[in-house]
């Protein structure tokens, strides 16, 4: 491969060094999507009952909370922050939905309050991170315990299981004529909103810039604190919504709902190609990452392989994905260094040819 010549930019300078298909195909996202397709095809061929529409229904239904929360989580990680408290917010929202419903509040009101409470949790996180200036890892480890603690404290280990039937049915309903649960409609809307936000708006550009260089972003007129604050609130609100859905899906409001889900979400987001160092990643990769873990779990359970193997595979995939990213970055560095060395040689050749001071 010969590097194209470096020239003064003019109308002939290409906008991109590589053609579109290469830019799309040789990416982490494409690799994850390919892996997902391979897993699906393999499972269809070898796992009994995997092809039934029920599989798709259950898969989408159960992974919906992860899919939903992965959207704002992607944005948060792109700005080089993290939110470990999402599953606790989900739990708290679930408990609030239950407690309010039990106290006789109309369900839509209960749900709304729960979502607002999620957003308020996000405000707490955002405040501590952006105004007080604490690292989000430490903050959200604290609020992970705090929000979960409030949820468990409110309800103990009892559960509230009585919800209006029309709502629980709605949560489990399918889009008529398809095996796709209706929760995929709000998810699709949110996914589009988040994808547009991240990839096609000035706000999205700001997120990547913050993730790669906070300082340069600040110097470019990006309000780093405000942007991050917004993201934490979004993350809280979406987690609150996921909590309402979770409650309806399992007709069950408990303090310990979705315990540990934050790690599944983060694992899926990182697997989908988002860099933990911020500034890199795309939403289609993340969605593929969530579905990949979900599909693997579903196929393995159907094949009678027990849950622990799914854990092991998730862990291995996660580590492989970050280590491979590190190796790729190292290789890229080597390639760039080669360019530098070549430049060095030409520079020295030129330098010895014309000594300016003679």
């Amino acid at each position: 491969m010969s590097a194209p010549a470096t020239t003064v930019v003019g109308t002939a300078t290409p906008a991109h060094a590589h053609p579109l298909w290469r830019r799309w195909l040789f990416t982490r996202e494409a690799a994850i999507i390919a892996l997902l397709v391979i897993v699906i095809v393999y499972a269809l061929a070898t796992v009994r009952n995997f092809g039934s529409p029920l599989t798709l229904t259950y898969l989408l239904r159960d992974t919906a909370p992860i899919l939903l929360i992965a959207l704002p989580m992607t944005l948060v990680i792109v700005t080089e922050e993290i939110d470990l408290s999402v599953a606790s917010i989900l739990g708290l929202s679930s408990v609030l939905t239950g407690v309010l419903t039990q106290a006789g509040a109309p369900f839509p009101l209960a749900a709304l309050v729960a979502i607002v409470a999620g957003a308020v949790c996000g405000v707490v996180n955002g405040f501590l991170v952006t105004v007080v200036g604490l690292p989000s890892l430490a903050v959200t480890i604290g609020t992970l315990a705090l929000f979960r603690g409030i949820a468990v404290g409110l309800l103990g280990t009892t559960a509230i299981t009585e919800f209006p039937e029309e709502w629980t049915d709605l949560a489990k309903a399918l889009i008529p004529g398809t095996p796709i649960p209706v929760i995929m409609i709000p998810f699709a809307i949110l996914a589009i909103v988040f994808a547009v936000l991240l990839h096609f708006t000035p706000f999205g550009r700001a997120l990547y810039a913050i993730g790669l260089s906070k300082e340069a972003a600040h110097f470019s007129g990006i309000d780093v604190a405000k942007t991050k604050f917004t993201l934490f609130v979004l993350s809280g609100a979406v987690s609150g919504f996921a909590g309402v859905y979770f409650t309806l899906l399992y007709s069950n409001a408990r303090g310990d709902n979705a315990t540990g889900m934050e790690l599944q979400i983060i694992a899926a987001v990182l697997l989908g190609g988002v860099s933990i160092f911020g500034g890199r990643g795309a939403l289609h990769g993340v969605i593929a990452g969530v579905l990949l873990i979900g599909t693997l779990g579903s196929a393995l359970r159907l094949a009678g392989v027990s849950g622990e193997v799914i854990n092991i595979i998730t862990g291995v995939l996660l580590i492989l994905s970050v280590v491979s990213a590190a190796v790729l970055a190292w290789a890229r560095g080597r390639r760039i260094a080669l360019i530098g060395r070549r430049r060095l040689r030409t520079a020295r050749a030129a330098g010895s040819a014309s000594k300016p001071l003679q």
């Binding site: 300078t13 290409p14 906008a15 700001a206 340069a216 007129g221 500034g279 520079a347 300016p356």
Partner: protein, 515 residues
Amino acid sequence: MVVAPPESPVPADPPSSPASPLLELTDVAKAFGAVVALRSGSLALHRGSIHALIGENGAGKSTLVKIIAGLYQRDSGGFTLDGDEVDFASTAQSKAAGIAVIYQEPTLFPDLSVVENIFMGRQPTTRTGGIDRRAMREEAVAIFDRLGVRIDPDRVTDGLSIADQQIIEIAKAISLDARVLIMDEPTAALSGVEVERLFAVARSLRDEGRALMFISHRFDEVFALCDTVTVMRDGAYVATTPISETTVDALVRQMVGRDVTDLFPKLEAQIGDVVLEVEGLSRRGVFRDITFQLRAGEIVGLAGLVGAGRSEVARAVFGVDRYDSGSVRLSGRALPKGDVRAATARGVALVPEDRRKQGLVLDQSVTRNTALAIRSRLSRWGLLWESRETAASREWASRLEVKTSALDTEVGTLSGGNQQKVVLGKWLATHPSVLIVDEPTRGIDVGTKSEVHRLLSQLAQEGLAILMISSELPEVLGMADRVLVMREGRITGEFSRAEATPENVMTAATAEAAA
């Protein structure tokens, strides 16, 4: 100092010394990624001598130092210590070989005490192998006494002034008891008394037969302390001369490499109305009572020593930093405090001093970087399409003659000069009426430098008001219609183009009595 035509021809090859040098670098090269920092550096340090290394910003001095320290590994060239070829894989190895280095930027552990910072990694131990804290403390105190400074050895280094941090760096190097002591701009943040103390210590070390190297941008210091001087330019060795056989003029010529006047194609511009008014701007501990005006078509130079607080003023005006009191007005209307967005929208632009950290998102493409500050303007109905960013980027990259193979090349892989052009393009794309440039030509090659100068001149002619911060006196004198001088956070002088002589400006920038 006076910029004058050359007096004597300059030797182009390293001199062959009678006594064999203690440390010698020959034709060393180093590239960072795609950026070539050092093309061919050569240097010979002798026992019992203090050797000056000078060169413009970005000439590669610090890179050379870091290669000696073992922090970077050279790509090619020779490196001998006491006649033996060496290859340091880490700074631990160079330390073990008796080389102490004071880096340009202080590098301390903020959470650890002053004493621990000095001895980290080689603390004195008791017989049982435990750290001998008492011995360590006593030794630190002894070094501080020798340097004549008073710093609480038990406090953490977090929050120390740059000067105190620099003194700890010096103490660290002295405590090593090394054969070779390299100092990269150790005096940049020190006061006159502190500098004298440091020099006294340096001379005594020299008299003990050690080899010292001293990097500084201040010629008076070079002439006061050193016995030999090596000049570098654009990553390459230029000349080595005994200090007694050279003059400031000769050194400047060697550093710049061509007639100084060629560099500054100052065009006559029509000076218009006041655009920017800064009044009584203060920020505790950084700058105080800064007042100046900027007119359309005018280039105002802001001179001063490193650390005078010029960048901080620029950042406060632009809104990157907050300030405590004072006001900034643009075309008569107040500019809100600490709001970069508003400043940009109103037509202020800042090309920051550190382009790699502040100016650019290195891992992003030329396109993304050029469009970053105008991303909202490029969007339609809130949506931003890549094609519009590409068009804007192509326009500015071609106007500024950026050299790259494609517009989606990551800027981190461009050369320093091209990176600087991208930063300029990014801010010119906002169509500013006030442009603040902070060290616009730091670390870029001579050709690109004059391109930048020509561009700034043209922009002024088109009616832009330009505030140019620069540590290079010739650049300030050559380009500015008016020169402001800062020292220790205050404006200590203002000169018209006619009044501004190197002597005037240097006096305002350094004089102790002027306070």
